[in-house]
Amino acid sequence: MAKDSATNKIKNVLSDDAEETFSLQVVAFKLRDEEYGVNIFQVQEINDMSDITRVPFAASFIKGVINQRGSVMPVIDLKKRLGIEETPYTETARIVTVIVGELQVGMLVDAVTEVLTIRSKLVDPKKTVSDRAMEKFLSGIGNIDGRLVTMLNLEEIVGAN
């Protein structure tokens, strides 16, 4: 019986009348032409790109460290991490500071677009992403009237696991 009701719940989430209850606020940003997003609750702040100090011998996707309000914070080159072709960062580039568990990490992105609300259920990335290595970095794809926002799995991206 208990299992049946759980199944029904899942069906409800998928059905139209349950869509109003699904609401996810995300900070959306661009990597080249694609739009990506992270849960707004994981974002601490967004800053202009500042002087990044290179750290020799660090993992290649780590751009370096910056001074974030007096503490030293690592910055991840997100395009490099996700295997997206690298293009130079311009003046629209931002550092999105996220909190992942105990870690405070900056993510370098090409531009921050806006805060969006995703109201429909996320699509499983396994269905659309063919690259196995990439798949673990993604938690789902949000569809806002045809505008696709790929949600990131920050735990995997910063390698906290």
Binding site: D51, T53, R54, A59, V72, V158
Partner: protein
């Protein structure tokens, strides 16, 4: 700071009172700081009247912080630690500087927010010792800032023997290893630009050598420029850089930029 005031205001007795107890008229408040393992220990000591656990028990009950039964069960050391609770003050009269009941709890929460600990040891009529333990991540060291191409690094002064200016022609090779001769001593050199793969942006003919040592090993680190000596606060690089031994941490410079602190022992190996 607050602990020092407290020692003066609560700890040290009036001169006449001290004389009656057979102590010198002038009280002594000490401030001791030292390394202890991975911590920095700061102690504030005084030879005053100490903290009487019975008075603390009585005050704690009066202020409703604990019941009589609870304080009766505490040993003296635990009772004395009540002074770290919010709203507790034993001073009979409030002076300009202490006795307001906000104090020791603020001291404690501040220290704990820095992941430190504070404790107190006291003997009636002999004095008290407040011991603060702070993790070394807050430590301040003297360092030499150096520039290599467009990057800046800090080298702890404790590992530096000397610095000198050389020309490229001063570098000779012994069995394919680059060395310099300093006062008759042959010292192998390490070119920081190559070791740390610093992007090359400009050529320099005049170089500086920072002669460093780690244990018995000695070497000259070649840099482009000596920026100067200054006190820096060591900050950890964090979990993302675990396994990175070349740097013992980083520091935030006056202009807001971050400079990495070189671990000399790793560099020499």
């Amino acid at each position: 700071m607050h602990l020092l005031r407290n020692s003066l205001d609560h700890g040290i007795e009036m001169p006449d009172e001290r004389e009656a107890k057979g102590k010198p008229r002038i009280g002594e408040v000490g401030l001791i700081a030292r390394h202890e393992g991975n911590n920095v220990v700061i102690m504030v000591t005084d030879d005053g009247k100490g903290i009487d656990a019975d008075i603390i028990r009585r005050k704690a009950v009066e202020k409703g912080l604990y019941s009589q039964e609870e304080v009766d069960q505490m040993d003296d050391a635990d009772a004395v630690r009540i002074v770290f609770l919010p709203g507790f003050s034993t001073a009979e009269k409030i002076s300009d500087i202490s006795g307001r009941g906000v104090g020791m709890d603020v001291v404690r929460s501040k220290i704990e927010s820095l992941s430190g600990q504070v404790d107190v040891e006291t003997h009636v009529n002999e004095g008290s010792v407040f011991k603060i333990k702070l993790p070394l991540t807050l430590a301040i060291i003297q360092a030499m800032l150096v520039q290599v191409q467009d990057e800046m690094y800090a080298i702890p002064l404790a590992s530096i023997d000397s610095t000198l200016s050389i020309q490229l022609s001063d570098i000779s090779t012994v069995q394919n290893n680059e060395v310099i001769v300093l006062r008759g001593e042959i010292i192998p050199i390490i070119r920081m630009e190559e070791t740390l793969m610093v992007p090359h942006t400009k050529d320099t003919s005049e170089l500086f050598v920072v002669v460093v040592h780690a244990g018995e090993a000695k070497a000259g680190i070649v840099v482009d420029k000596l920026i100067g000596q200054q006190e820096i606060v060591i900050k950890t690089l964090g979990n993302l850089f675990m396994g990175l031994k070349m740097f013992s941490g980083a520091t935030v410079l006056g202009d807001g930029r971050v400079a990495l602190i070189l671990d000399v022992a790793t560099m020499l190996n």
